[in-house]
Subunit: 222 residues, 2 copies
DNA sequence: TCGTCAATTTTGATTAATCAAAATTACACC
DNA sequence: GGTGTAATTTTGATTAATCAAAATTGACGA
């Protein structure tokens, strides 16, 4: 019984949902899941019960859902495919990083293992995709680096952009046009809670200001 | 109402079915369609009636089905995608020509126009795929060369393999291992109806014998 | 303790795609 | 012209995925 694209999408959404859980939570709420997938809450309930039946998730009524080991393995596989495909489309095919998400979203469910292996090989077993998101290994491990956001990193200190955690095309174009893509070195000069903003110096020396919402999507390493 | 993968597959099957019609026929029989798609005959009937409702096909009960102009346009688009993707996977990704069919079959329904355009550009607007099958143009024209099979081409005359009309992986591996891929020059030395076979000289000078069934799948130009 | 409200689950329906098996039709042959 | 066969269509069901709206639950504040 190989999983349908729909099942794969549920698992993937739960997987990333788990990584977004604040503090000691271990269950992804149904509402959040339904929201992430853009479906009605009742639909999510029905589907999750079926996933639980297949031992892909643990489901606690009214509390939420969590992946089992089997579910985690499948989810990691899908995420691996997605990120490899994104990198491939940018690196090999020459598409822009803001236009590859939808193609990857579709292709991740349908391409053969042989094609994924070829892509992985062509790209030299990469560890991160064009957005700096880590690529799960073939055996399902998700490498984890601890990164800081522009809201928490040290001031007046050069840091390197490592990851951009937003797939929105307009946001990505903004990042690119201001030279803030992963790999670029920048420096946070000031933060201001009142104006809800962060001021920073871009690689070319240009100063600019971001809202905290946007700033929280840029992850950096010291 | 963009067409589902299923609808695209029906249209594609009717499209290629039409090209296989003998003499003056203009309708693809339901049985043949169902067979090509691997579905029950009743299912084909139901679906074709729906396609007729959407003006993608003309349907004559008990006689068969034919594409309308709109259906033809869609079918050509899918076939174009399929063949461009196959060539891409061979040429750029380095997959073998006998292993790209299934990936192309899936990807043809899901990749963006932007990706197809990039692929077409990378490949230099190619006219044929790795099997020598012509690639429909972006506006839906299917370039047609008149080719002969090994059953009809002149004897004792060098001819160039132009097309292999069978997607079966084992057959393709056979063709490759005997140096009979498109572009190779060969010569038919004899045909024999009784033994149902064709004898030919491969590029390396090696003599070999094919059954007429296999020989009919090799198309050549003088 | 109790009521309220938001989140969740249930219920009842719908759509697309499919099958098996029964009914029908076309046609060719005697 | 009748008849049998093969192709085709109909019929009745099934599965996966979905929605809207009604019912339920659980937690929190009064």
């Amino acid at each position: 019984m190989l999983p349908s694209s729909t099942v794969e999408n549920y698992l993937k959404a739960i997987y990333v949902g788990e990584t977004h859980l604040t503090d000691g939570q271990k269950l992804v709420p149904m509402g959040q899941l339904a929201g992430a997938l853009g479906i009605a809450p009742g639909t999510a309930t029905t589907m999750v019960k079926a996933l639980a039946e297949s031992d892909l998730v643990d489901y606690e009524p009214y509390n939420g859902v969590r992946l089992t080991a089997a579910g985690q393995k499948l989810a990691a596989r899908v995420l691996r495919r997605h990120r490899l495909i994104e990198l491939f489309l940018v690196q090999v095919v020459g598409m822009k990083w803001d236009e590859v998400h939808d193609d990857a979203e579709q292709m991740e469910h349908v391409v053969s293992d042989a094609l994924i292996e070829r892509i992985d090989e062509m790209l030299g077993r990469p560890e991160v995709d064009p957005h700096g998101d880590p690529i799960p290994t073939a055996d399902g491990q998700l490498p984890h680096r601890t990164l800081e956001t522009l809201l928490t990193c040290p001031l007046h200190t050069p840091v390197t952009v490592a990851r951009v955690t937003d797939q929105d095309a307009a946001f990505l174009r903004f990042i690119e046009s201001h030279n803030l893509k992963p790999g670029q070195t920048i420096e946070v000069e000031a933060r201001d809670d009142v104006s809800d903003s962060v001021r920073l110096k871009a690689p070319n020396g240009v100063r600019m200001t971001l809202g905290t919402r946007a700033a929280s999507k840029l992850l950096v390493t010291g």
